[in-house]
Symmetry: C2
DNA sequence: TAGCAGAAACTTACACCGTAAGAATGGAGT
DNA sequence: ACTCCATTCTTACGGTGTAAGTTTCTGCTA
């Protein structure tokens, strides 16, 4: 590691800081992320980061934003009248991006995303849904329900997020201690794996929601 | 405030510590909750709390558990074959309890709840659903989908959780800065309030999900 | 009633955190 | 060559969770 004195450029940028933060989060987990450690990962003192980010909260908010951007960068526009497959893809892409960066998941759940970028995305979704013939209020409902369900479900799926690891065993880890007499159904689930397929569960629930909303629109 | 020397009883108990923590969380928010402050609220030094709780994480996990318990303490058993209204009540009670204690919401989303109490509740739901004629795997799916959607939706509804307040403005606070040319649909939503009714959105989505699952069972 | 064991509380200490304030350095423009 | 300024580092402060050790009170036994 080359020594650097005060003033010598480290070649940082806002972009680079966020990249490094996302990397650090993915590999070490949220509780381990501190300004000092992130600085160290970039070969820089903690305070240097404050040239690129006003404070840690803003950094975390930015990470959520960035993952959302990753998730939807390639999303096409819906064909007229054909918004259901479009929203389905929306849901699955969001889940995929969140699972790819589980470190930001607790942040995605907690922090309202109202950055300009996020607003632009919302606007685009609403426009797409309207173009496909969905009334505005309903479009807002659908987008929000899909998004909140996806976040909630993926939070549960990711279970203990990295860094929180080991502090709480998940259901499978507890299989041994489970008294079959007291918990016959849970025991059976662990034995048969019935109802433990997150992939299937998510897909099915999304389809139910979309079909339900589509039926509402047909009738109206 | 009466002085107390080492050894003099403060009359604490595990129960009391959790009660105080929940109160503190509800009124000051998660980021403000520290062992020292919670101790102060109980008239005790921080380290005293470690007689009742192994560490802070366990305290937080316990709070989630407690809110879940509050939510479902009065839930009846489902009538045979009539699980839909039962699950609907389950969802609405969960949402109500979470909104009543918004401080634990970010925890509820993040932490897997696998305490003995939580397992007992899961077991009861599964038993109830089976008694109403739902296959085990599907019962597991339904319960989890309802729970994760409720948590996700309520997280968004609570928006910035107390303590996180003001760090991120919500959509309404931004109404002024919104450029109607760039965000015509968002602007219209703020003006007409279409699609901003969380209550209606939640109720409708839950009903769609339950009807969808019920239809699956009918056909099968 | 005296003494003692254990519980319950306090005290001290450590390593770490976010970040405010200011000093130091290097490179770019004149 | 000299100035200016962006970039980085240094120092410092008040806060955090919690390990370790100390003090005091309470209740039991002799």
């Amino acid at each position: 590691m080359a020594e650097r004195r005060a003033g010598a450029k480290a070649g940082l940028s806002r972009e680079l800081v966020f990249d490094a933060a996302l990397d650090y989060l993915d590999s070490h987990g949220l509780p381990a992320l501190s300004m000092r450690k992130l600085g160290a990962a970039l070969g820089v003192e903690a305070m240097t980061l404050y040239n690129y980010v006003p404070n840690k909260d803003a950094l975390l908010d930015g990470l959520v934003d960035r993952v959302m951007e990753i998730a939807f960068s390639g999303l096409a526009d819906p064909a007229p009248g054909d918004w259901v497959p479009w929203m389905r893809e929306f849901a699955h892409q969001l889940r995929g991006a969140l699972l790819a960066h589980p470190g930001v998941l607790p942040l995605a759940g907690t922090r309202p995303v109202n950055s300009p970028d996020a607003l632009r995305m919302s606007e685009r979704w609403l426009a797409g849904m309207r173009a496909a013939g969905v009334p505005l209020g309903r479009a807002m409902d659908i987008v929000n329900v899909i998004a909140t369900f996806t976040i909630g479900h993926t939070l549960a799926e990711a279970g203990q997020t990295p860094g929180h690891e080991g502090s709480e065993p998940n259901l499978d880890d507890r299989a041994g201690e489970l008294d079959p007499a007291e918990f016959p159904n849970l025991t059976e689930i662990l034995a048969t794996r019935a109802g433990l397929d997150f992939d299937h569960r998510f897909t099915q629930a999304i389809d139910i929601l979309l079909a339900g909303y589509a039926a509402l629109d047909q009738v109206a």
